[in-house]
Amino acid sequence: MLSPSKHGREARRAFEANWLARLGWLALAAYVFYAGSLLDLNWERLLLGLDNAGRLFGRMFPPDYSRWELLLKGMMESLEIAVLASFFGIAVSLPVGLLASRNMMPAWLTWPARMLIALCRSFHPVIVSILFVKAVGFGALAGILALVVASIGFIAKLFAEAIEEISLKQVEAVRSTGASMPNVLIFGVLPQVLARFIGFAAYQLDSNLRNSTMVGIVGAGGIGGTLFAAFQRFDYDFVLAILIAIIVTIMIGEILSARLRAVFQ
């Protein structure tokens, strides 16, 4: 029979109290209150905002499609930016991701590759877009370059992580046949990561489509420029037309990328 411990409850605690974590939550809650008070967030301000928003929505209806040629031209350009940026971004990410994978490559190669990825990740696409607009001038080229950088930062890292999770037993077996490095990659590594790579690539195309509608705001081509101009001229009915077009495009993109992933599972 189990007898009660001589040490009483003290010795039988099943869960250690984590004071550091509790302190952390408390600090977070305190900061949220502090930041809120600093920014003068109150009900009055919120109601004022809602009132304004109501008027904005009122002027948006009905959406105005009379300038559909401008809309179509902008959307087509955004689509071009998204597709080209995805293509080149993924093309560069494949070798960079491989070089960054620590199970396949020596440390002197993974470090520079990881630095490059970290660099590409460190800035938001808007900031990179502004940089490229300044560097190569207004237009779609700046948008494409900016989204290539964003794609590398995101997808090369995912590629590297996918490669790091493969089964090395399969790679070892292929290597033991005397296969060259390219053959090891084609038969030992690629089959293990292909489905995930397709998934990431589809996701990136999706995400680039979204971002391509935004880079135009800073002059890097696409529908974003048209949208921004419409906002500034208070053409809210045209704004709504553009927003609906973007939503439809993104949804179609989502459906297509889901199909693509399903095919390669």
């Binding site: 089964s167 037993k169 399969q170 070892e172 077996a173 292929v174 290597r175 033991s176 046949t177 005397g178 296969a179 060259s180 390219p182 053959n183 090891v184 084609i186 038969f187 030992g188 089959p191 293990q192 292909l194 489905a195």
Partner: protein, 263 residues
């Protein structure tokens, strides 16, 4: 299929493998193999037995350099496997087939593609990428699939197969290399007893038919005695028995595995 020159005239097999003074230490100062010297004469099946952790796998893996030796020599086909590198190492590996304990098939490739992995040492990457293997390779693959009884599985993915079927593919893949030596690292340890015997029978008969010498690691002494012509007992990183199965007595097993209660 018999592309290997066998120098019967001098009575020395060209496929002989000479391991001498082999030391392997994964951590400095703690060798797993402590100076192993064995001459494999290049015919029939040799079984290496011994307790877990005694360096059986290390020995086999050093032969095709999946493991880096610390010192010593592994002479095969006129070269020292412990020294070769780059292209020469790959060429040497392409002449040595290997069968793995956990089969190590590329799960997401078809059975046919797994067999063709055995040709990767001979076919350039641009052709393998397009799956344009020489017709003779495809023909050999179908022959071997017939031999292991898996022809109808050619286009199925490897992850759809059972354990025994997978190991059959593993054996066929190794023989696709037209190897001058077949290594098998615990080929039956992941299989049930009946399938184990079937796999050993298949491997023995195919190796004989293709005239390939085999070195197999196993911890199942009965299976080793049943199939091998020569048994090497490894214990504590050194060879403690070397002889025909008939000469392997209880005192040897005591020496190899320690204790006697299990006998």
């Amino acid at each position: 299929m018999r592309s290997i020159a066998v120098d019967e005239g001098r009575g020395v097999n060209a496929r002989a493998l000479v391991v001498s003074d082999l030391v392997v230490a994964y951590k400095p100062g703690q060798p797993v193999l402590k100076g192993v010297t064995i001459t494999f004469n290049g015919r029939g099946m040799t079984a290496v037995i011994g307790p877990s952790g005694t360096g059986k796998s290390t020995l086999i893996r050093t032969i095709n350099r999946l493991v880096e030796p610390t010192s010593g020599q592994v002479l095969f086909l006129g070269r020292d496997m412990a020294r070769v590198k780059g292209r020469t190492l790959r060429e040497m590996r392409s002449r040595i087939g290997m069968v793995f304990q956990e089969f190590n098939l590329v799960e997401r490739l078809s059975v046919m593609e797994n067999l063709l992995c055995g040709r990767l040492g001979f076919v350039p990457a641009w052709r393998t990428w397009l799956r344009r293997f020489p017709e003779s390779d495809i023909a050999r693959a179908f022959d071997l699939l017939d031999a292991v009884g898996l022809r109808e599985f050619a286009t199925q993915r490897a992850d759809a197969l059972s354990g025994g079927q997978r190991q059959r593919v593993g054996i066929a893949r190794a023989l696709m290399q037209e190897p001058a030596l077949l290594l098998a690292d615990e080929p039956t340890s992941s299989l049930d007893p009946k399938t184990s015997v079937e796999i050993m029978e298949l491997m023995t008969s195919l190796a004989r038919r293709n005239d390939v010498p085999v070195i197999v690691n196993m911890h199942d002494v009965e299976l080793a005695k049943r199939f091998a012509e020569r048994i090497i007992g490894l214990s504590g990183g050194t060879v403690v028995f070397d002889g025909p199965p008939g000469a392997l007595k209880d005192e040897h097993l005591k020496q190899i595995y320690g204790g006697e209660g299990w006998l």
